[in-house]
């Protein structure tokens, strides 16, 4: 039976590509036998779900406008850049 640390390694690996062969068997055997790892993985699933859910919720909303001071600072910094002399106002 693999250790919980080895289980974590396999759990991470399984998120980049499906496990196969011995790795998959060892992962499944450990998962069935270790309630602590089951709880930990379930907790991570919830954490990742909350992060992704927050991202989706933020993308669905129109963010507040940029602080005007930041807009001015960005525009001034760009004007101060070498080569900014090409910049021109639209007619």
């Amino acid at each position: 039976v693999i250790s919980c640390n080895r289980f974590d390694e396999l759990h991470l690996a399984s998120q980049d590509a499906p496990l196969s062969g011995t790795d998959r068997t060892e992962f499944e055997v450990h998962l069935a036998a270790c309630p602590a790892c089951v709880r930990r993985v379930a907790g991570y699933v919830t954490v990742v779900g909350l992060l992704q859910g927050l991202d989706a919720a933020d993308k669905a909303r129109e963010p507040a406008p940029l602080p005007e001071e930041l807009v001015r600072r960005v525009l001034a910094a760009r004007r101060a850049e070498p080569g900014a002399s090409r910049a021109r106002h639209a007619g």
Partner: protein
């Protein structure tokens, strides 16, 4: 008869974007200001996730726009402008994190606060993420918890679990090895879990 709005809207967005890019490439200052005002708010929101200190996040946004100004000539238009800007501001935020993390490598890698604690598990008794995040109050709590995760761990969490990058790509962007990426991801998830458990199990009366 009005025609169906959706396809036209998509075409309009692409057309407006293409026109803006032409003006940006021509060096038109007003076009640059339009870009800042239109895309800056989302870029600042992204930067704030990586850099909760407002001054740092704003500096990253400024860096991003200066990079965009310098490299707009090379923008091919194959990806959406918003996708490109997202990547640029993430890179600028990571640049700041990389610099700071190198200076404080030991304390961050040696952090034991999260690793030593044992999850109590109340997260498993809560509703699913969608239901939890329906309220702004909970979303704010999740943001606060994320902001309290140590910076180097938070960056890995965001790149992996939100941006969906492979671990090797995360390592390349942060200039750290794969085993360090895995360690930070593990610790970051664990830390965030503990923080969320504490925040979300508070009496919701």
């Amino acid at each position: 008869m009005p025609s169906p709005a959706r396809p036209e809207t998509v075409v309009d967005v692409r057309t407006v974007e293409a026109a803006l890019i032409v003006r940006l490439k021509a060096g038109e200052e007003l076009a640059f200001e339009e870009l800042v005002r239109a895309h800056g708010p989302r870029m600042l929101a992204v930067a704030r996730r990586f850099l909760p200190q407002e001054a740092d996040a704003q500096d990253a946004v400024q860096d991003a726009f200066l990079n965009v100004s310098k490299s707009i000539q090379g923008f091919s238009g194959e990806s959406r402008l918003s996708t490109w800007l997202h990547r640029v501001v993430v890179n600028c935020a990571l640049m700041r994190i990389r610099t700071r993390t190198r200076r404080h490598e030991e304390p961050i890698e040696g952090a034991t606060l999260e690793a030593a604690a044992v999850p109590r598990g109340p997260l498993s008794g809560l509703p699913g993420p969608a239901a939890l995040l329906a309220g702004e109050e909970t979303r704010e709590k999740v943001r606060d918890c994320l902001a309290r995760v140590p910076e180097a761990f938070r960056a890995v969490l965001l790149l992996r679990d939100v941006e969906g990058m492979e671990l090797t790509e995360v390592g390349r962007l942060l200039d750290i090895g794969l085993s360090t990426v895995k360690g930070r991801l593990h610790r970051g998830r664990h830390a965030l879990r503990l923080l969320l458990e504490a925040a979300l199990e508070e009496p919701r009366t």
